[in-house]
């Protein structure tokens, strides 16, 4: 930038601050300049080349051990490098150890909301709505039961209004449940996945059931579980295993 241009910009800044303080809102970037969030997982990024879209409601469904939660974690990990993200753990079943990074805690830009009791699981959609309304997050994930269609419609409208990527991750949702993008995870492969030492390796399928501008079809991804020698992986804790009596 030339000296004159820098001078002009500085002058403009002073004028704006004089009139509006420092609460000046920049112009929204266009749709093309605000792409969705890629996961860093090949199968998912091939199905969603532009990433999990902003301003839209995405639905990920899948049975247990289909890799749906692992995919959500990959998405959140990638998204928190770019924006603030919120995760509503409505069922209170996410294991915190899986979300701790190398420094022993979750990403500082990740807001995790958990109900105080499992009985409040159905309030997850309401909390996701409150988080969306703030407009502070680039990505909001609701992990739990699928909201009813009326709530889903409201969430979708809010996501569009605030240009937030909204993801509902749920074990199951009816085929008529409206979402802009719908991914279905399923277990795949034959034979044993579990092997010596508790290691697990098995294929899984990810199918794009609905999505505008996304690629159709199914991609395969490998599900991996590599247990450490101890369930307790904190390096500073002494190994006090003892043979269980009886």
């Amino acid at each position: 930038m030339s000296t004159a241009a820098a001078h002009d910009l500085n002058k403009l800044k002073q004028e704006l601050e004089k009139r509006f303080g420092s609460a000046v809102r920049p112009l929204h970037a266009t749709e093309e300049q605000r792409p969705g969030f890629r996961t860093g997982v090949r199968a998912l990024d091939q199905l969603l080349p532009a990433g999990v879209p902003r301003g839209a409601l995405s639905l990920w469904t899948g049975e247990e051990t289909s890799g749906r939660t692992a995919a959500v974690r990959a998405l959140v990990e990638a998204a928190t490098k770019q924006t603030l993200a919120a995760l509503v753990d409505a069922t209170r079943t996410l294991d915190p150890a899986a979300w701790c990074g190398p420094h022993g805690h979750s990403a500082p830009g990740l807001w995790v909301a958990r109900p105080p009791t499992p009985a409040q699981v159905m309030e997850g959609a309401w909390v996701a709505e409150a988080l969306l309304r703030t407009g502070a997050f680039g990505l909001v994930v609701l992990d739990g039961p699928a909201p009813d269609p009326t709530e889903a419609h409201r969430l979708r409208a809010l996501a569009r209004e605030t240009d937030t990527a909204l993801l509902v991750s749920t074990p199951d949702a009816s085929p008529g449940w409206k979402a802009d993008v719908r991914l279905e995870f399923r277990r795949g492969g034959q034979g044993a996945g579990l092997s010596t030492g508790g290691r697990y390796r098995r294929g899984a399928g990810v199918r794009l059931a609905r999505g505008t501008g996304a690629r159709t079809g199914e991609r395969m991804v490998e599900l991996v579980h590599r247990p450490h020698s101890l369930l307790n992986t904190a390096p500073w804790t002494a190994d006090r295993r003892a043979a269980a009596r009886r």
């Binding site: 749906r68 807001w111 703030t134 502070a136 697990y200």
Partner: protein, 475 residues
């Protein structure tokens, strides 16, 4: 309209040593600090070392004692070791600041008269002559004066005597704050003596803005415009108004204070300022996406707090949690979701990634071809039926009978496709964990089990009872 029953007033008394060092600037700074603990603060007329603060309606913030502690902390922050008294009347609150041995004293609602009964007459603002006359008559406590009949008091001591008698009975109609318009959140502070410079206002105004924002936050609103009403103590006492309007509603005190400062610099007051009142005549929806054209976009913590107050009210501190390793033995304890509560909002908003809204990987990177499974743990381990094989290995597992009862499938806590029926399992283990010997103690054998269709779960056998439990599953 405020009723006397709802009124709570705090008196803040500074030590005698503070009088010499306390100029107008320091007094304004103290008032600004106190405004963080109470919405209205005003000096006590004729007593340069004392201030009144409105302590009413603070039940949700912990009541009178919490307000008194907050006022003490605010005064300490301003460099003063003060004493605080909280009561329903000015006279009882002032008397409470003279109680030795404690930095603050709270007089319970409705107990002002009883509290004053045993206090010395020295707490009453009466002339030295009247006090001496009463002393000669053997009347040394407020209770003794209050016990006299009003006719006798008027006959012997005149109008001043009746005023003192009323105060001794905690019959004190004084209320140093003007009644607030319930529709317009406001905060005010008086300056005594009036200040010629706007410099002291720089310390005072942020506290007032903070108080206004807090009032609005209770309605989940944030200021869209502020009105600064300056009381001018010039040749003619009057009020001057300065309007401030940020580019869009914001609860960012830095921005609002900055705008107020600029307005005062551009349009200085036409005389000494004896008081400032900040009102929010217009407010807006608490949206946190306050962006700054010249800095990295970051949410407005005040607006985020206001917008999410109902979530914190319903979900408690867990509404904002973070995962952290704790290093305990059991899988359910070696990491935890630590609830940060609304106190963690400011730190969270500062965690905005530097490359905000810029995609991290724009290139055609293929990414990895695998997904690392995550453990999902049940809120409480659920007992399951297991047929044991050789060496107590789990040979067959049945989750089905427990699905609706223990796994909460009906409420939606866990809903999905657990393997049906009794299935033969592939298993790997055990991992033996024992610990908590200082408490109940536990010894468990953990097994990873795989159903024929690939479902992978984590079971454990409690060594003491021999029963099997489902800890969770991998997904």
């Amino acid at each position: 309209m405020e009723t006397s029953a709802a009124r709570r007033i705090a008196c803040i008394r500074l030590p005698a040593s503070a009088e010499e060092t306390f100029d107008a600037g320091a007094r304004a700074a103290l008032a600004g600090a106190l405004l963080r603990a109470a919405p209205r603060v005003t000096p006590v007329r004729g007593h340069p070392r004392a201030l009144w603060a409105d302590a009413g309606g603070m039940e949700r913030r912990g009541g009178d004692a919490a307000v008194a502690r907050a006022l003490l902390a605010a005064a300490r922050e301003a460099g003063v070791h003060a004493r605080v008294g909280v009561a329903g009347t000015c006279i009882a609150a002032a008397a409470a600041t003279r109680e030795p041995g404690t930095p603050f004293r709270v007089v319970s609602p409705g107990a002002d008269a009883a509290y004053l009964r045993r206090r010395s007459l020295a707490v009453l603002p009466v002339s030295p002559q009247l006090r001496e006359t009463l002393r000669l008559l053997g009347i040394t406590t407020c209770g003794a004066l209050a016990a006299l009949t009003p006719a006798d008091v008027e006959l012997r001591f005149g109008k001043d005597g009746v005023a003192a008698w009323r105060l001794a009975r905690a019959d004190d109609p004084r209320w140093p704050f003007r009644p607030a318009d319930p529709g317009t959140p406001s905060a005010e502070a008086e300056l005594e003596p009036p200040v010629d410079s706007t410099e002291p206002l720089r310390f005072l105004v942020p506290g007032l803005i903070d108080a206004v924002c807090r009032q609005l936050a209770e309605r989940q609103r944030i200021p869209a415009a502020l009105r600064m009403v300056l009381t001018i103590d010039g040749v003619v006492r009057g009020e001057e108004v300065r309007d401030v309007r940020p580019a869009r509603p914001t609860a960012e005190p830095r921005v609002l204070a900055d705008l107020c400062r600029r307005v005062l610099e551009n349009q200085p007051p036409n005389g000494p300022v004896a008081g400032v009142r900040i009102e929010a005549p217009e407010d807006g929806v608490a949206r946190a996406d306050q962006l700054d054209a010249f800095r990295t976009p970051a949410p407005d913590p005040g607006a985020l707090h206001a917008a999410l107050l109902p979530v914190f009210a319903r979900w408690g501190e867990g509404a904002l949690s973070t995962a952290a390793h704790h290093g305990a033995h059991l899988p359910g304890e070696h990491a935890a979701w630590d609830p940060l509560g609304s106190g963690g909002i400011a730190a969270f908003t500062h965690a905005q990634p530097p490359g905000s809204d810029v995609p991290a990987d724009e290139g055609p990177e293929l990414g990895r071809g695998y997904l690392d499974l995550c453990l999902r743990r049940l809120p409480e381990p659920a007992p399951v039926q297991v047929r044991e094989g050789e060496g107590r290995r789990p040979a067959a597992v049945e989750l089905q009978p427990l699905r609706t009862a223990s796994l909460g499938a009906e409420t939606g806590v866990v809903k999905g496709s657990f393997p049906p029926g009794l299935w033969k399992t592939r298993c790997e283990g055990p991992e033996r964990i024992s610990g908590a010997w200082w408490a109940a103690g536990n010894a468990r054998e953990y097994w990873r089990v795989e159903a024929p269709d690939g479902w992978l779960g984590l079971l454990f056998r409690d060594a003491a009872s021999g029963r099997w439990y489902l800890e969770g599953w991998y997904d």
